[in-house]
Symmetry: D2
Subunit: 333 residues, 4 copies
């Protein structure tokens, strides 16, 4: 399988879902190797680079794309299978941005308090050990942490002519910020506009669930993925399949609504997978789901709801596409 290399210039970065002309047209079945800049457009390079001084908030969370998938129409299902994610720089950056994050008041959780201090942490990458190093700013503690690359942001153009910031997670995917969006996963998204117009970005060298401070170990990323199209079958909300789990992602506020969305979407999917009545799916999932919070910091909060395949009878979604993509991807590694 050939792989199309994509490295956008800054002028080609997309900062919204929808509202941007396609960067490239591709056919279903295409493998891409795409470079994406980090969420700060590379502006934070050392601990003294403060977000308040260096980051232009008009230019955050740049996307590589959008890609127009030939033949994709509203109601279809886009499948993005992530083969590999490789750090494209030797460092990642994280920051406590004033009035942004989960343990601070924000423009929405509005209070009269002062912001937390604008602070930057730089994580050096050790490619040999495959670690990034946390270095405390107030003490000498250093901790090498495994690189576990993921993409914060994967999405398609929204319906109804809307154009949304790349900071938003929604029904169309977007900035879900879940560690589940990692190599080996296939993400299924409903297509809203002709061509689907998907894009990816916001690489994280690692991230805790919740993304508490609002930023992960943000880093430029080279992502290899295979793009497929299923006619029809659009899920209402993003679904993810990997070798071990069936997953859904709900995004809304308050956080319980994000969870409800994800849990109902998985009930729906289990109806498709196992022919289960909604009440039986509700019951079964009540006893087996894993529910890691994705983010509590973005424009919507996101929650993942997962069911472990090894607990369940064998089933197949979208004609076994995930397994097929795994096989195809093997040739790319």
């Amino acid at each position: 399988m050939d792989v199309v290399e994509v490295v956008p210039t800054f002028e080609q970065y997309a900062f919204t879902f929808g509202g941007v002309a396609p960067l490239m047209r591709i056919r279903p079945g295409t493998a891409l190797r795409v470079w994406s800049d980090d969420a700060f457009c590379g502006a934070l390079q050392k601990p003294t680079d403060l977000s308040g001084e260096k980051v232009d908030l008009r230019f955050v969370n740049p996307q590589t794309g959008p890609f127009h998938v030939e033949g994709a129409e509203p109601g279809d299902t886009l499948a993005l299978h992530f083969v590999a994610m490789e750090p494209a720089r030797d460092w990642g950056a994280s920051a406590a941005i004033p009035f942004f994050g989960g343990l601070t008041s924000t423009d929405r959780v509005a209070t009269l308090q002062d912001p937390l201090p604008d602070t930057t942490w730089i994580y050096e990458l050790d490619r040999a050990r495959n670690t990034v190093t946390f270095a405390a700013r107030h003490t000498d503690l250093e901790i090498a942490l495994p690189v576990e690359p993921m993409l914060g942001t994967v999405g398609v153009a929204p319906p109804g002519g809307e154009v949304r910031s790349s900071l938003v997670p929604e029904r169309f995917g977007g900035n879900m910020d879940t560690p589940q969006m990692r190599p080996g996963a296939t993400c299924f998204l409903g297509v809203n506009v002709e061509g689907a117009l998907f894009s990816v970005g916001d690489g994280h060298y690692r991230q805790g669930e919740g993304e508490a401070c609002g930023t992960a170990v943000e880093g430029a990323m080279t992502t290899t993925l295979v793009v497929e199209l299923i006619k029809g079958g659009a899920p209402l909300w993003p679904r993810i399949e990997d070798d071990t789990h069936w997953m859904t992602v709900g995004s809304s506020r308050p956080l319980e609504d994000a969870w409800r969305i994800g849990q109902v979407e998985l009930v729906r999917w289990f109806g498709e997978l196992y022919g289960l009545h909604p009440m039986d799916a509700y019951q079964l999932l009540s006893q087996i789901t894993e529910v890691p919070i994705a983010n509590v910091v973005d424009a919507n909060y996101s929650t993942v709801v997962k069911a472990r395949k090894s607990l369940l009878p064998r089933a197949s979604a979208y004609g076994g596409l995930h397994d097929d993509l795994r096989r195809r991807a093997a040739s790319l590694l």
Copy 2:
């Protein structure tokens, strides 16, 4: 180590935290083997037993206890180390109770819609295979699931003279409904009243994160635990330590507030464990926490925030009490 056996009569069941005379006085260091009834007081025994007909809502979530711990004073820390949990019946029960649960309107998420149908599922226990079997009510699907016993409810008497239903998770612990409350875990709770007055109950043979339908595989349980007391050092919110993780549990509404509470409590704990400045703890935890939702169905919603010990330098809480309790517990197995 001797083990004190405790099997309460129905008349001795406690249905509140606080407001109940001690069932027993024990010394720190005591090992207990306590039987607890299931959340329905055993009322649901077959699929045709409906919660609306069989369950007396004045008598749900019975607790075994409270236990008065000698020497415990407000500001102290109670440590409960769970050694073993064994199903005490050959079946567990779960139910979709009208207007109770996460994917239905409730007395709080009030709508004008009809309730979901009152439905009961009985899970037969296979002791040899250590499974409970989900049996769909609308199709023939049956799935044997591993028994993973846990306690939904572990708590002490609240402060300020309050008395709370055993259905409530709060700062004092209570009905947190997290699968993390399992054998091998040590739970640390701040003491609010003389004697601490802790109780346990609400055994689950297994439960998914979120406890979506509001009830787990509810079952009578025999729990072996060791009780210890630390003078002072009361955490603000429940903490759990096991061999692999440092954990906190936040409980409130909306769910993001439960998360905030847990995340801030873990920041605080990391200050104690590693001498980290709050901003550094905030940053470090942002990159490493696992955040499984516990419940989105109780009087408060609960979230667990976990940090994996293997990622971190070695540290010790409460003088290494958890490791010590593990050693002591070994003689009880």
Copy 3:
């Protein structure tokens, strides 16, 4: 009509709903004239009295009561008609208490930020003009504001053996903090325990809707009220009737759930008042309700939902008790 005077000593103050022996037994039909201390037990008397230094948080929101109403049984309806509320001191106090209030992070909306500065404002009462004076602490601005006395806290003992802090608004009433609880209003509460065990307190010389900073113009109050009992008919949530409006109060978190509760309770009440189908009541109320937020600062948030009588056909609740109480009250003024 005779009036029973009640002035408790500090030792007689109640700080919970439930869990306190009756201060007095009264018969239905009794008129009371009760003195209640302010929410700080009088600890803030000048602007240099800071809450962090002067207020003992174990002793806040003192209640006068509880009163045992003879004949009251669970399922009955307690009616409290407020005839008059008179400031009992010549000043009121308000404070920005660290980590308490609506525009700050709190123990629940937990962040890592510093608290707002602990600040006290004293409002001098001008009895002749019937005003209290706001005096800015950072500039010279002074504004005389009309006294509009109300009670923050009116409630009965909760069900299920629970005991709740007087800071809590709930189904049993409690710390709802709505300006609607003023002279001329009749409050209907469901009785949960024998004798109802109601109490009142938390007088406010005036308060804005939302009680943004967490404290009103807190002042000792002398309240004249008439107590009546209706056998049966307990509303699920507090209802208020005055000469102009039908009202309900919902209390929960998040705030939309408080609203849902109140709106559904008013749908229910309109079914009783007008024989309306729930869908018709839902529609009608959608076009006429006034919905002032009560508080966004207490253990639960509270919202009032009101329907203006002048828009509606004449109707009568509880056998016209409110009108009857108005007539009876006239003799007390």
Copy 4:
């Protein structure tokens, strides 16, 4: 003053804020008399017209506009003074749309319950009496209610290249659904793009606070307004001034965050109006604000925070523009 008449064709309706070419370019100071269709594009005309059959959800909440205001630049303040609103049809329509509204589960408050029955109510307008008549669908009750016209939706193009559905209330205004947006009010909105690109629509012949069922008495409307531009001074969130109140509107989820936003914006405005320190504004507003909920049904929930001018020293915003507009408007009536 001349008045520009604007009656769009269906093809000219706008269904988003942003993303639409200007319908017209106008100069600051222009008076407009604009016709807007109802939220259903006139599809519901009799009680048997059900939303599920007649309403095309791609075409709801049509806006008249957008208007390009000459000279308007990002950071400026757009002032829209509403002079008159006149029902443009002889009936209004309201509906309980399945899975839309406040007392039902929705696509966000997702449950497994059945929807409420799809139901339509038609309100006949009596121009002589200036009433619309509620007619119950399940009984014979009819109630004539005063016409109190308002606009549900007033907004400008969002920043950052976003395009938002006309169903969304946000920082840019939009579908706030507050009865305060009525004749006599001046709405101040921050300008985000050149020309401001404002539009109006979603006329309501009357609406209760909260808009409980999700739809008001929806009706085509003829609105007379005067458009002004203030260089600079953009408020962060919508502000409204009328003869009696200073007001702000916050929109987010959960509802407490909408309230926080509005309350903080009014603290900010009081800093401008009275030179008050934020802590003093916080305190003063805590004692005087009226806080009517606007909607609990839209993509964001909205709350209004109001301060009554008669309680306060005289002050003037934006150079006394509101009073000036009132004078100018007098000539249009």
